[in-house]
Symmetry: C2
């Protein structure tokens, strides 16, 4: 085309040092003129790197969930900022892991240089299996003893315990836990909740209501549950997330139940929405900004070959007006 070999063109366009300045100039000029641009896919195939990080949201226990869920969006935004800052793109997938191969398919597809999984869902075993062979993998979620995959998240058990103890301290006795314990983080929060109830001698008074995470479908269920229970059935709700808590608060309004007088409600996450409910939501704060930074940081350390442990952050009680 320009009278040189493809190899030379490649070098010229890559600003390789082992090429004369004038041939480089000439080739770049011609490339610009015919606006030629190297095909990234071919380059990826050859170099075995892509400059993209896969962000995946596994929905093992929850098929209806949308990416536009406030928690995911918050996390996603933070990850996007952090990754694009480092010059990486994000490949976003929502996956319903019907097929147990879902993760290793992503991992060895060659489309990404690393993987960030948001939430373990009910796939902790799969994550462990893949993590054993695929290094550049980090997970937002709960940590347990002996876990193979590297995770970042708050101490969910402690968070659940603090939340419940707070409700008890405020006078609640008949408490319901709203959340689906098939997800590891939720299971840990429930565990903490149980511990706090036991410590107060209230083990018998805990009800588990396995709300779906999906706001739309769960809301009707919540209304029904609260309708049946009334304020005589329960006087406290430990919600596994702010989204669930805010749904519960709205349900209470529609049933003329008042928070905190009739039922005290506490959430988890401290998303922006927690400040916008009526009454404003007491909750357990997770530092998502720090969490996202840690995820990205650990991921790149692992890409670099380093081996690094999970990162567990302390949860923090935020008292507002719903308790």
């Amino acid at each position: 085309m320009a009278g040189v070999s493809p190899g030379t063109v490649s070098r010229a366009l890559a600003d390789s040092p082992l090429i004369s300045a004038k041939t480089r100039e000439r080739i770049q000029a011609i490339a610009r003129e015919h606006d030629f641009r190297p095909n990234a896919v071919a380059r990826n195939l050859r170099t075995q790197r892509t400059g993209a990080i896969g962000v995946v949201i596994p929905l093992g226990h929850e098929t209806g969930q949308h990416i536009s869920d406030p928690f995911f969006m918050t996390m996603l935004g933070l990850l996007a900022d952090s990754l694009t800052e480092r010059g990486y793109d994000l490949l976003l997938s929502r996956i319903i892991p019907s097929d147990p191969q879902w993760l290793s398919r992503m991992a060895s597809s060659g489309r990404v240089d690393g993987l960030i999984i948001i939430g373990q869902s009910d796939q902790a075993a799969t994550l462990d299996a893949v993590a054993a062979r695929y290094r550049p993998l980090v997970v937002w979620g709960g940590h347990v003893e002996g876990q193979v995959h590297c995770s970042v998240g708050s101490d969910n058990r402690l968070g659940g315990e603090i939340a419940t103890a707070h409700l008890i301290a405020r006078g609640a006795r008949r408490i319901a836990f709203f959340g689906d314990p098939r997800a590891r983080e939720i299971a840990q929060r429930l565990e903490g909740c149980r511990a706090a109830m036991a410590a107060a001698g209230l083990s018998h008074a805990l009800q588990l209501f396995p709300t779906h995470l999906v706001a739309d479908t769960s809301h009707a269920d919540i209304v029904r549950f609260l309708g049946e229970q009334g304020k005589d059935g329960i006087d406290g709700i430990v919600a596994a997330s702010d989204v669930i808590a805010s749904s519960a608060l709205r349900a209470m309004v529609s049933l003329s139940l008042h928070a905190p007088d009739d039922i005290r409600v506490i959430g988890y996450d401290d998303l922006p929405i927690a400040r916008q409910t009526l009454p404003r939501l007491s909750t357990i704060r997770q530092e998502l900004t720090a969490g996202a930074d840690a995820l990205v940081d650990l991921l790149f350390r692992r890409i670099g070959g380093e081996d690094c442990a999970s990162f567990v952050m302390p949860p923090k009680l935020i008292v507002r007006h719903s308790t």
Copy 2:
């Protein structure tokens, strides 16, 4: 490996109909055992399709902006839902178009099957140039006569006019427009604002304050501007977005200015945050859900070879308590 040719393996794993059931079974079994997974990048290279759509946020006029901006995140979530529903992944890039090649590089990199651009920024000319040659491209933003690229967005000029007319109807006379007109949508909103002022014989009383879109850096500027103006300088603010409006409301609080009594404030977008300001924000609603669906729909029609026009949605005045 299994005693057959690579071609046969490929067919077996792709469930091709021209292969015997038993060889298929046998090969798939072997593949599963050694957990072999085809390399997607190589496949992409050969088939020239990737199953991914690029979503890019050009920041031509605004380098500090983050993806976690509420408008982007809302739009991104809606697009992600819609695209993943159709089995496509999202490749998310934040691009600062210092290099005029930024778009065509993305387009012809072969990494994506189509491109959705969020906001024209100041790159409308580039978009037109690329759209002339690259079909699968749709843009969120403003539409102008003779525009080459296919866009989806609200009628920004009309929206700006409605917003301003509303302020005037509420008694505002000395109005400031907050927004950077280098972005096409903003320029159109400003144009509408000017028209409404002219219609009321108030052309002389319009001030333009070219706020940055970035919340952090602009806030201080807004405080300074409002401090200088005071309530005698202006009695109405037409903000180019809800984010800017909410920043203005907070600035007013810190200056002991009251909305709507001292200064009436109206936003644009009707994001969730508009309902959470104090006082709650009057604004011009854009139907983002419909917009995202339209973007995706038009994109796939264009990928299918169809030619389709821009889509302009009617803006709608939402009156709350800030005006």
